[in-house]
């Protein structure tokens, strides 16, 4: 709790400070400065909170394994142009292991895959975008894990969302602020990419959905780890009532 309060204060102090600094120092391009700063502060804050929380060993290895799997996925499926399984893996991990694990897997996927494909200014944005992909999936886990169609829908929507977010990023770097006309041009020129994100998310989620669930449930029973399975917790609640 204390950690949360401290981090909240930092958030509340840092973000306005960044805004002021951006406006004072870089009039023309204050927006991009503020955005980058806010993204960095959010990531730092999240990592700090996570660091202070004590997490069991299995959680760390699952985060590491799933991040490594999505980096491997980028390599294994490289022969398919523009189909990447990363988001699908992040979403499924988040659905079964909760939002925090989902966020961490997303953020680490971006960070570590850029060790291989080159770090750049896009790293923090990618970390946040993939992190949020996992976070929201974890938040909606209760519904997503029971309903396949909803899960596929979510993965399609999040693919579009991811692409739009990365377009905002490109726009920020091109103009130093979001110019609507430029943004629209970018979106339309990147329409193919957006579609491929959505399609690859749906394809891979559909392919992985059932086997991943099976593997995770097997781990849960064999190693007695606390899998975040909504049905189970629901049953527990019912049993309590």
């Amino acid at each position: 709790m204390k950690v949360r309060i401290v981090s909240l204060c930092i958030f509340l102090l840092c973000i306005p400070a960044l805004c002021v600094a951006g406006i004072v120092f870089f009039r023309e391009r204050s927006v991009s400065f503020v955005c980058t700063g806010v993204v960095l502060v959010m990531l730092a804050g999240y990592f700090y909170v996570y660091e202070k929380k004590s997490s069991p060993a299995w959680e760390l290895v699952i985060i590491a394994l799933m991040s490594a799997m999505s980096v491997l996925g980028r390599i294994v499926f490289a022969f398919l142009p523009s189909l990447k399984p990363c988001s699908a893996i992040i979403i499924l991990t988040a659905v079964y292991f909760g939002r925090e694990t989902g966020f961490m897997v997303g953020a680490f996927t971006a960070l570590v895959s850029n060790f291989y494909f080159g770090q750049g200014s896009w790293t923090p944005f990618q970390m946040l975008a993939w992190g949020l992909t996992g976070y929201f999936a974890g938040m909606l886990g209760r519904w997503l894990s029971n309903n396949r169609i909803l899960l596929l829908l979510y993965s399609a929507v999040i693919g579009v969302f991811f692409s739009l977010l990365m377009d905002i990023y490109s726009c920020l770097w091109m103009d130093g602020k979001v110019v609507l006309s430029r943004y629209l041009v970018l979106i339309s020129s990147a329409a193919w990419v957006t579609v491929s994100y959505a399609v690859s998310n749906v394809v891979f989620t559909a392919l992985f959905m059932e086997p991943f669930g099976r593997i995770f449930k097997r781990l849960c029973t064999k190693y007695a780890i606390g899998l975040y399975i909504p049905e189970a917790s629901k049953q527990k609640q019912e049993a309590r009532n």
Binding site: F25, R29, A57, L60, I75
Partner: protein
Amino acid sequence: MCYFRTFDPIVPMTYFLCVMSICVFTANPYLQACALLGGVVLLLCIKKAKALKLLALSLAVIAVMGATNPLFVHRGLTDLFYIGKDPYTLEALLYGLSLGCSIASLLIWFSVFNAIVTQDDILAVFGKRLPKTALVISMILGFIPKLRRKYTELLHAQYASGASRRKSLHRSAVLFIACLAYEAERVMDISMSMKARGYGLKDRTHAQRRRFRKSDAAAIAFSLALCIVCFVFIGKGRLDYWYYPRLSPNGFDPFGVGSYLLLCISPLFFIVKEKTLWRYCPAKT
């Protein structure tokens, strides 16, 4: 290159943060020129001929940004010609070039960053403040080759049971899942090994192979000081520059620009020093 190794990894990272925090966000052409100059010189020193490709790309980016910006922005008083009803202005063109320079300098500086800052440096910097995060990154880096090897083994076992060698989405996915199923159980044993070695006992620490020294502090102070000087001049408005409606006549402050130039080319000092050191190195004879 060796010289950067003698510093704590936090030093180059702070340095790059200082340089990039200004060159990317400023619209001042003098500062951008400094950043580009410093970046190009450093890149050439480190990567030699391999850098030419990136430099060509950067030039292309600058050209494209310059040419396309006036199509979206019609501010500025000096009309060059008209496209349809909209004017194509000189100011917008120059602003586009300046945007291009921002992106180009970002590309170039990140390339220098990737050449100097290694995986282990990033881990070391993370590790000091966030040991758990550093541990997870290290685990991921360890898992990736393991997973790759397993995937290859599974693939070979498939070949040997007569599967075709053409890659298909379905087969790759099946193997990918098999790889996860196998490794997921192995990984649980790893968590066992972590527990056996006392994971979860107290606040973790992270072993640094290098200690933070006075020279590190001095180097950080140097970068930060020059950066702050620039920020002060920017804040005072001495380095303000605008393109619209007409190009700004001022924006050149010798101190501000000079300190940023010094910041950008300061690593050159170490590169030259290293070259001379090795040339007249007593160990050689």
